[in-house]
Each structure stands twice: as C-alpha cells, then as structure tokens.
Amino acid sequence: MASVQISEAEKVYIMHGVRDDLRVDGRGCEDYRHMEIETDVVSNTDGSAKVRMGHTDVLVGIKAELRRPRPNVPDEGYLEFFVDCSANATPEFEGRGGEELGVELSNTLYKVFNSHRSLDLRSLCVCPGEHCWVLYVDVLLLQCDGNLFDAMSIAIKAALFNTRIPKVRVLEDEEGGKEIELSDDPYDCLRLRVDNIPCIVTLCKVGHRHVVDATLQEKACSAASLLVAVTPRGAVTCVRKLGAGSLDPDSIFEMTETGKRVGKALHAPLMELLQKDESLGKKRQKVGFLA
C-alpha cells in the first residue's frame, strides 16, 4: 500500500502529538478529515459516488446485470467487487503492485459487504434459480493519502444509495416458458435499502494510542492497525488486523470500542447528507472532478 518515508525526528513529533490528542493537522485522535461526497457522478452506471477525504480520492461505480444465481443460494443476488489501483494514484501501483493490492482490497470489501444482513440480497432475486441481479461494484482509486478502506466504504455506501435498478417482471406464457419484461417507465425502479450497510473504520495504533483516519505520515509511525466494519446499529461485520506488528488484547478491545463509537457516529450524518443531496434533485449543483 502507498507509504512515505519519514525521519525518526518526525516520527517522535507525530507520536508525541498523538499522545496529547493533537495531531499534526490539528485534529483530535477520533476526528476524520474534511470529507466531500458526491453521488451520481458517472452517468452510464446504475449508481455512482465519489468521495474525497483529505487528498484520498475514490470513485465508485455500480452496474447491475441479470445473471444466474449461485447454485448454493438460488434465491439471492450477489455483489462482485473490483478495485482498480490506478497508477495515477501513486507510482507504487504500476504493474503487479497495483494488481496485488487490488485483489487484497476487493477480497476485504467482499467480506465486509456481502453479508445477508447488511444488504437484502433476496430483493435482488428476480426468479429463483434462474435470474438474479448481480451488482458489479467497481472501485477506482484516484489518489491515495491514507485511509483507503474508510473512504472506499463510504463511497460504496453512497453509490449503493444512489443505485437504481430497472424493475423487471417475469412473464409466463402458456407453454411454461418464461420471459423477462422490462418496465416501460424509466422512473419505475428498484432502490436498495442501505440502512444497515456497514462503514469501515480503520484505527491506526500510534504509540500507546490509536487514531482514526490516519494520514500516510501517521501510518508510517504505526506497526499495526485494526480495520473494523460497523453497521449503524453497532454490530461488527468484519475485523482485520493489518500491518506487520502485533497488538495486545486490551488495545484490541479499546480499538474495537472506539471503532464502534466512531462508526455509529459516522452513519447518521452520512445518511442525512445523502438524503438531502437527493431531495435537491435536478437543482443539485454538480461539482464533478474539478473540485
């Protein structure tokens, strides 16, 4: 993953700051950086969102396609994740490096989001055993400045909120043959319930404390971080230790506690923002990529 080299003196400075709950950019340990969220940014997807967090920039597009359900779960649709680590984001992504990270990130996203309880996968089923909607979630990393996971999860949640899947009906003719009919009205579409979709909070252990939304400099001071995916109700859907270091059990408990607290607090303003954005409808000012 993207990283920076910093000197020992800088490390000490950052660690002392974190100890006193004052970070280099003036934040407290549990504060996020300024965040910009925009939905419906790519017109030829079924749902999209762009999130900017500090200098980290992530674009998510969702496309829905009709496919055959998986044989072991015939009455559910499913999600597929693909993370593209653009070489523009950081030179490290050139060649194989980006590819490996992409697989790693998409595997983790799959674990976080593809739970029955976070998204109603049954609503994606059109005809059990034969047709279901598959949501292809494409994540494009435009710029990396730390905390990729949190930015990606927020962008995915926003894009899922924005997703509109055309309504289809299954017609049966006399001979028992089935046909799929697409609704004529383009505004007649299926929306996803995103109430229970988790957000990822990555906590970086710096010294004896941990920080939320670490920058690359802060990450360079830390040996281990903990990824916690939290639903709005406070249930944990995924935990993963990242990095080369180890953690003692007590700090794991503290970090998951903080993760839950921060994650819960993140959901309400996010949903409010998304709803407000949508209520503006056509009047919404498009910012796009020039922001």
């Binding site: 697989v103 998409s106 249930a235 995924c238 230790k241 270091g245 953690l247």
Partner: protein
C-alpha cells in the same frame, strides 16, 4: 479464460456430484455427530516436525480431519531486489489448498481465496519472526492444506510457526492460531467445515460470525485477527478471549513436538 497448456486438461466444464443430491440430504450441521466434543473444546491435535527431508524446517499438523503440511526454506538471497528496505529480511508466505482438499475440487491456479489466506498468514507470522536478524535475505514459508475440515487458517499459523522453529529461524515467540464460529449464543471453538458454513439460512439470524486469531503466547500479543459475519457488540471481545484460551490449549502439544524434533536432531549426551 486463458487456456492452461502446461497441464493435462479435462472437459471444459464439469460439476461436482454433490450438486445433484436431493436438497434434504445435504449435510445437516451439528456438533452431536462428532461425539462428545464440547463447544469450547479443540479437536485432538497430532503434530510432528521435520518430515520434509529437503526443507530447512517442516511440520505436519492434523486436527480432526484437517491436515496441513508446511515447509520452510531459507534464509536465502532476496529475489525481488526492488524492495526499499534492505535492513531487515523478508518473509514470504505461500498458502495452497490441494485440489482434492475440499468437498468441491479446486483449481491448480492459485485463486483469490488462497491469495487472501497467504496474506493473512503473512500478517500473522511476521510479528513473531526476528526479521532484523536476516538482512538482505528472504525466508519462505510454504503451506499446503491436504484436507480441509475447517479452521485451516488458524492451524496453518500454528503449523508454520512450528516449521520456522524447526528450521532454526530466530523468533520472538511461537505463533499459535485458533478460530471459532459464533452461531447465535453458541460459540464453537475450532469448528469443522460443516460448523464453519452452517446452513446458509443462518446468515439471516442474529449474531453469526467467524473469528480467527493468532497469538504470541509468551508475550501475550495478538499478531493476527480476522473476523467476519455480523456479531453483537459484546460477542466480539468474548470471542477474542475464547480464542486466546484456545491458543493456550494448543501450546503444550506444540512444545512437545518441537522438543521431540530438537532431541532427535541433537540427542542429549548419554550419562
């Protein structure tokens, strides 16, 4: 799909006979079939060091029907020289599932699940190895699952740390793994493959999840943690504690096996 010209190929498509079973007969889960294993019990573990003659160190571990073999090569000269930090050594982990190890046949080409497991294994092992003692060199850990009957990542961690010890690689501590399956209020330690999956219906029930933890037992540090599913707030810390206990239960067995291997390599002087 790229065509694999380096292997003997079969038909384009084939399906496991399991898919053609009537749904009612498909694997009822439950710990009762296993006999008298309590929810907090780990399966009996059989383990040996030094079975692969060609490797610097190796180990074999059997827990219930789960069978894992691991070999360690190195330290040898680093292969990819573009790494910026040459002051410390590099640990390379390769996690493979044999094609016949699961109920459904796996492919020879490493899939995303195996890559994910390789990474998880690496992150769990790294904190235990004194990599600063091996500058400019790499240590390779190859894990092969011969039969998957659940908790493979946890047992692979234990198996890998035994192989590293057998290879004489300097370590801060052993690394032990343990996993559990949270199924409602029940908490099944060291689940087998049926318990791991549960019925797919149970995905809709409360408090479902899987946790795998790696522990450095003497330092009391957790070197790897993976949890997925959807667990209640209080269930996760409890699960972490249970896994730590589970790791400690493995410790004497692992110590015995290493001791045995050391005695075999360097027999104590006869009095």
């Amino acid at each position: 799909m790229p065509v694999d010209t380096k292997r003997v190929r079969g038909p384009e498509e084939s399906q496991s006979p399991v898919l053609f079973l009537p749904p009612s007969t498909q694997s009822p889960a439950g710990r009762s079939g296993q006999g008298a294993r309590g929810n907090a019990d780990i399966r009996p573990v059989f383990t040996r060091c030094g079975l692969v003659s060609q490797a610097k160190g190796s180990s074999y571990l059997e827990a219930g029907n789960t069978k894992i073999i691991c070999s360690v090569y190195g330290p040898r000269e680093i292969e990819r020289k573009d790494e910026t930090d040459m002051k410390s050594g590099r640990l390379v982990c390769d996690f493979r599932l044999a094609p016949f190890s699961c109920r459904k046949r796996g492919a020879w080409i490493q899939g995303s699940e195996e890559r994910d497991l390789s990474l998880a294994l690496l992150e769990s092992m790294q904190p235990g190895v004194c990599l600063h003692r091996y500058p400019r060199s790499q240590i390779e850990v190859n894990v092969m699952v011969l039969e998957n009957d659940g908790s493979i990542l946890a047992h692979a961690v234990t198996c890998a740390s035994m192989a590293l010890a057998d290879a004489g690689i300097e370590m801060y501590d052993l690394v032990l793994g343990c996993s559990l399956r949270q199924d409602g209020d029940a908490c099944l330690v060291d689940p087998d493959v049926l318990e791991e999956k549960g019925s797919w219906q149970s995905g809709y029930e409360e408090n479902q999840g899987r946790v795998t933890l790696a522990l450095l037992p003497n330092l009391g540090q957790v070197s790897g943690l993976q949890a997925d599913g959807e667990m209640r707030e209080d269930a996760l810390p409890a699960a972490v504690r249970t896994c730590i206990d589970g790791c400690h239960k493995m410790y004497p067995v692992v110590q015995q096996a290493i001791l045995r291997a050391v005695k075999k390599k360097a027999p104590p002087p006869e009095k």
